[in-house]
Symmetry: C2
Subunit: 422 residues, 2 copies
């Protein structure tokens, strides 16, 4: 352990309570879509305290609408800003973006939680709460890394651009807005919950909605109608087959440990208004995974083709075509070489802190990394302290030790990548 | 055609426009559950005009709660009364209940309607609108029959008890309340939409709700969760098999023309809150048909047994039992002999008016008839002018000629059953 690393390590140990307090405050502000403002206020306060140059703005749809990656059904951003905080380098070094999203998914069925999803309860070294793992824990690692370096008076040559964005869970309009605003860098780290693994490749994904028509009738003469739920089940079974076919094609060894590299998730179904009526419409909503080496458009076409085949095999659907829409969330896949310099830098820092080499895998989910890499040409590594399996789940939690380990790794990465001003 | 029949026939012909106007007004008042008041006001106005003795009351749950047939999840009846109108006989005759429900099911997807569901549009001799067939058309037949007899100064020996009840579509609390209030008779006619057939037997039915648990996860790692929608599909497939087994047992020739005598209708499904999360709970609601010769309790037990078997064959469900609830709607099956005197009376009246014998079938759906017969010992014939296939459907309509034919048949039935005071 060299001298600087030791100082950072000690600083993090001494400020453990402060870091936990910050994370708890962030979790206690429910920042589901449309409610990001209060959690962002905590981020802004912290960045001010760190002496960073702040850029706070509400997304203007008109400024992002023309970008080919734009896909957003939200109209009102008032009171829920994006935040970028710049730590200007002394010059001559490589810059880095540290990107975290502040939005969280809804808490689901509250009865499945052991603790209040927004209570930030701590037990056995774990902090419980919606957003703990995905990804306020990662964001706190970023802020701790910056704070450690700044407090220890370590100066970097390259710029550090910290971004706390909205809308990641709905398709990345926050990060896209930062990109369109001109923020770029020589590399980016996104501390999404990777279980401390490095993800040089990320699955893309898109949300879809399929509206299936039936024919209403009285339940007692249900044979006079066509049950939209039964037709929706037929479509879902077809999508399960499509998922199987698509995943059989994935041969990238980075996906070896992942049961379903590019899942098709059926996330919602809604049909019917009356128990004793045959429902005349069913709406399925879900998420289609997109392989790092395919385009969103290719994946879209494959699903359209699948629906066409399902229609051909069903007399009713053939006459009453299901409607396929791509709405809301839309995450570009991302892809850098395993031996890219930023990968090497993070790997080295990881080994310095943890004493062993990190696992490298392909991410099973999309992140804002695709927007930065495919949209901005910025090489992205996704690496963070949270637990993949707990993201979006009831009883989401994070092991607090990981938050501080990740902070140390990111701090060393910044020094190596941006360069130390001696 | 005897003299009285001719007079009734002519009266109905001369008052065709009045009858249609009354039916249109009733349809124009959307009387879905909780909104029955305005349509009942039209009924009350008409009964006053006819000089009937009115009994108008709001259902008091405390007065019906102890009845073994009681099953109701509605608490507020204010402003939406039950109506009974008595035409007292001169004495010495048999009494008859004429029962129609004023509530209608929701209109469903409005885009599937050619006309405004509450516009009461007339085209090619048909009147379109929610409730036209189920069963405001039938109720108008009853009122026309009474009006014809009263206007023609025909006096009956037995009492005629006209009932316009709420809650039929949700399980019959309106009719149950009238029964508990003491209204009984020697027979009853319910003009539900039978396509002018006579139904001496009626299918019972019950609403059920099955809550299926899953395990939430991020859609990108959906294999870490258990999709409640997939488990719900497994349950639905099991219910489809149960329906098949139950219907194979039905051998009553009255059901010969009916593809599925006692259907299990899946009327609603609701699961998930986020396209890229694995949903952790799915709720299925539906309606189980009950054969005239079985009890509601027997049918309940058979479904419980079916769910138990499905659980045993699925590891997850075995550990996470689906919850089965019987809620809301609950219709007793009904059953009288084909050669019961009231059947003979209606058959004879039918033949007098139509010139041929009516078709006799078993009803594919429950009615309030089960409450009157099993609850009150009142023999019930279900016979009405509406079209079975259009009940609860988009573009529900009724052939106006049938309304007047049914009125004439019911008028003759009343004379024959209650006896003519010469």
């Amino acid at each position: 352990m060299n001298d600087i690393q030791q100082k950072i390590h000690q600083w993090l140990q001494h400020h453990r309570d402060d870091g936990i307090r910050l994370l708890r405050r962030l979790i206690q502000e429910n920042s589901t879509r449309g409610n990001e403002g209060k959690a962002q206020a905590i981020i802004i306060e912290k960045c001010r305290e760190l002496g960073l140059s702040l850029d706070i703005w509400e997304v203007d749809i008109n400024e992002v609408r023309s970008h080919s990656f734009f896909r957003c059904d939200r109209h009102d951003f008032s009171g829920n800003p994006n935040v970028v905080a710049l730590w200007k380098g002394t010059g001559g070094g490589k810059s880095i973006i540290l990107n975290g999203h502040i939005d969280v998914v809804p808490e689901g069925n509250e009865n499945d939680w052991m603790f209040d999803p927004y209570g930030a309860h701590i037990q056995n070294g774990k902090l419980f709460g919606r957003g703990s793992t995905d990804m306020k824990g990662g964001t706190v690692s970023l802020l701790l890394a910056i704070e450690a370096l700044k407090t220890l008076d370590i100066r970097l040559k390259g710029d550090v651009i910290f971004q706390s964005v909205i809308e990641e869970e709905s398709g990345g309009t926050g990060t896209l807005s930062a990109l369109v605003r001109g923020y770029t860098a020589d590399a980016a780290i996104i501390p999404e919950p990777t279980n401390m693994k490095l993800f040089p490749k990320q699955q893309g994904s898109m949300w879809f909605r399929i509206t299936v028509k039936g024919k209403a009738a009285h339940g007692g003469t249900r044979y006079e109608g066509i049950n939209a739920i039964e037709k929706a089940m037929y479509i879902i079974q077809g999508l399960q087959q499509l998922e199987k076919r698509r995943n059989e094609r994935i041969t990238d060894p980075l996906y070896d440990g992942i049961p379903i590299p590019i899942p098709i998730n059926i996330g919602k179904i809604q049909s019917g208004t009356w128990p004793s009526s045959v429902p005349d419409v069913a709406i399925i909503e879900g998420r289609m995974g997109v392989a790092p080496n395919e385009t969103l458009h290719e994946a879209e076409q494959e699903m359209e083709q699948c629906l066409k085949q399902l229609m051909e095999q069903d007399e009713w659907l053939n006459q009453h075509a299901p409607k396929l829409e791509w709405f809301g969330g839309r995450w570009q896949p991302g892809d850098i070489e395993i031996d890219h310099p930023i990968m090497k830098t993070v790997e080295t820092a990881f080994q310095q802190v943890m004493g062993y080499l990190p696992m490298i895998e392909a991410s099973p989910w999309g992140t804002d990394g695709g927007i930065l890499s495919k949209g901005g040409g910025i090489p992205v590594v996704v690496f963070g302290p949270g637990t993949t399996e707990l993201a979006h789940d009831a009883n989401e939690s994070i092991v607090l030790d990981r938050v501080f380990e990740a902070a140390e790794i990111i701090a060393l990465t910044m020094i190596d990548w941006c360069g130390l001003e001696e």
